[in-house]
Amino acid sequence: MSLPILQLANLKTHFPVHRGFVFKRQVGTVKAVDGVSLTVHRGEVLGLVGESGCGKSTLARTILQLVPATEGAIILEGRNLTRSSAAEIKAARRHLQMVFQDPYASLNPRLTVYATLAEPMLVHKICPRDEVAHRIAELMQTVGLPPLSQKKYPHEFSGGQRQRIAIARALALQPRLIIADEPVSALDVSIQAQILNLLSQLVRRMHLSLVFIAHDLSVVKHISDRVAVMYLGKIVELGLAIDVIERPLHPYTRALVSAIPTFRPDGGRPRIVLPGDPPSPLNPPSGCAFHPRCPYATVACQAAVPPLERSKASHEVACIRAAEIAGPR
């Protein structure tokens, strides 16, 4: 088996919380990412699902080293980024690109499409200066933008087209791994379909790996090979997309899955309505962070943090009662 493109080992990103102006003291820690271990293989699409505040975006930013990791290792093609120098990280970023959620905020409004796409190529010296124009024309075609729009500014494009520009910018460096943080949630349904199709075509054609972050399970199921479900900084379930979504093991995943619309007028499966809000990461519950909202919680759940354990060959779950809950079905 070939070397995985990305490996995360017990990755933690903690943010200190300070109070006071003159005598700043640390009053707590937000454990945004708290012990995540993951592997992304070549040519694979890994879906990362969770609600707001669960740490999925912080995880993405940590992988790119936009936020320093507190502990653990990020191994990109055998090189540990947490122990690398700034120059090495810059070199690694060539292979590691990101597409952000809001194409209105992530493109520089004062740069034309041409300048936006040329900048990364020049910074990373991908190709000689005189070939840049040719490469940009190719990129525009790859992502389905009209070639004549190179001299336009972002505000002249619609949301879907802007997301195409953002994807083209990520592709400009011929990366091996793209992290897409909610790339379609700001878009309308029909445009969302266009961008999803484009991403899965690119993955197939260019043999890319993709980490696809979203809160919408039906979108994630559609595009991903494997899915990881996050809750409060930890991965609670990980497995093949089909397994996780059709046969979820963790009670949290079950609730998320039950919220996917079935489009059957009789309602289809019953919707599981969880009580309460996701807890604050500043003051997480003891033991399993999900226990205050979990319909299956017992006293044992409050005692210890459940580890992510293998239930089948390729399906892992962090719930001490997973086997019991799955049993009677």
Binding site: S190, L196, A255, G267
Partner: protein
């Protein structure tokens, strides 16, 4: 007699780049206790329709060119502002998408909750506060007595939306207009809020209009759905009929582009092109340039919304000719 009957509503915006026909001849009705879903992509005119009814349209640039909206005998579009005030906020209430921008950050929620009661009910403050407390409990806010005097920023997103719902339902309206009530919320919180609205709807026997871009929300909640495109209703049907046998090419295309309705990994259907610029709408059927079934006739005639079954109508010439 229906609770609300809208007839040929046209709302145009007069802008520097031309007349923008945001709502262009919309007719529909809502019965007592009924749940209606209005579905469409951004710019389809679904929100402007409801803002016109509620008198929330900025005028100018907006202008209601024609139409009637009868609510219990009063034409909402022509009545005096005194008449409108007696209905708006009392008999018709509205919940907005983003609870953070629609609550006043400077006022305690107690003051915001009782405001409609004091204005419309003319009841003493103490009684109003008691009603507010009962309402907060009804929408599922724990420890309501203590939370009553908090400020909006002290609540989470889901809780704020509950406060919004409590505020709009405190006068026990007959019609609630919910404009994307769960778009800004997390999946699990979305399920809570939708269930809450459904429960209160049954309790108060109120009619609800959901405005949403999410066909999923509509499929589980609404009795009837109407699909809007470029300022017009292109298809209206009972929810069952719409999802089982969508007839208008736009509705079909929408359903084919939703991942949860498609087999995994397959190509999603792409609707080519973009929705038309509302200031430069194509002649005839506005969907024709993007429609895979369009013929030479489509751009030449405005399709009317014609029923072909009791509970199902479409505005497509080819469906009406029996060709699709």
């Amino acid at each position: 007699m229906p609770l609300l009957e809208v007839n040929d509503l046209r709302t145009y915006f007069h802008t520097r780049s031309g007349v923008c026909r945001a709502v262009d001849g919309v007719s529909f009705s809502v019965e007592k206790g009924e749940t209606l879903g209005i579905v469409g992509e951004s710019g389809s005119g679904k929100s402007v329709t409801c803002y016109s009814l509620m008198g929330l349209l900025p005028q100018p640039p907006g202008h209601i060119e024609s139409g009637r909206a009868l609510f219990a005998g009063t034409d909402l579009l022509r009545c005096t502002s005194r008449e409108a005030r007696a209905i708006r906020g009392k008999r018709i209430a509205m919940v907005f998408q983003d609870p953070l921008t629609s609550l006043n950050p400077y006022l305690r929620i107690s003051d915001q909750l009782i405001e409609p009661l004091i204005i419309h009910g003319k009841i003493p403050r103490q009684h109003a506060l008691a009603r507010a407390l009962a309402m907060l409990e009804a929408v599922g806010i724990n420890d309501a007595a203590a939370r009553l005097h908090h400020y909006p920023h002290e609540f989470s997103g889901g809780m704020r939306q509950r406060v919004m719902i409590a505020m709009s339902l405190i006068t026990q309206p007959e019609l609630l207009i919910a404009d994307e009530p769960t778009t800004a919320l997390d999946v699990t919180v979305q399920a809570q809020i939708l269930e809450l609205i459904q429960r209160l709807q049954r309790e108060f026997n109120m009619a609800v209009i959901y405005i949403t871009h999410d066909l999923g929300v509509v499929s589980g909640l609404c009795d009837r759905v109407q699909v809007m495109y470029a300022g017009r209703i292109v298809e209206t049907a009972s929810t069952r009929s719409l999802f089982a046998r969508p007839r208008h090419p736009y509705t079909q295309a929408l359903q084919r582009s939703i991942p949860s309705l498609q087999p995994k990994g397959g190509e999603l259907y792409n609707i080519p092109g973009l929705p038309p610029d509302p200031a430069k709408k194509p002649p005839g059927c506005a969907f024709a340039p993007r429609c895979e079934h369009a013929t030479g006739l489509c751009p030449s005639r405005d399709p009317e919304l014609v029923p072909f079954q009791d509970d199902h109508a479409t505005a497509c010439l080819r469906v009406q000719a029996g060709e699709l």
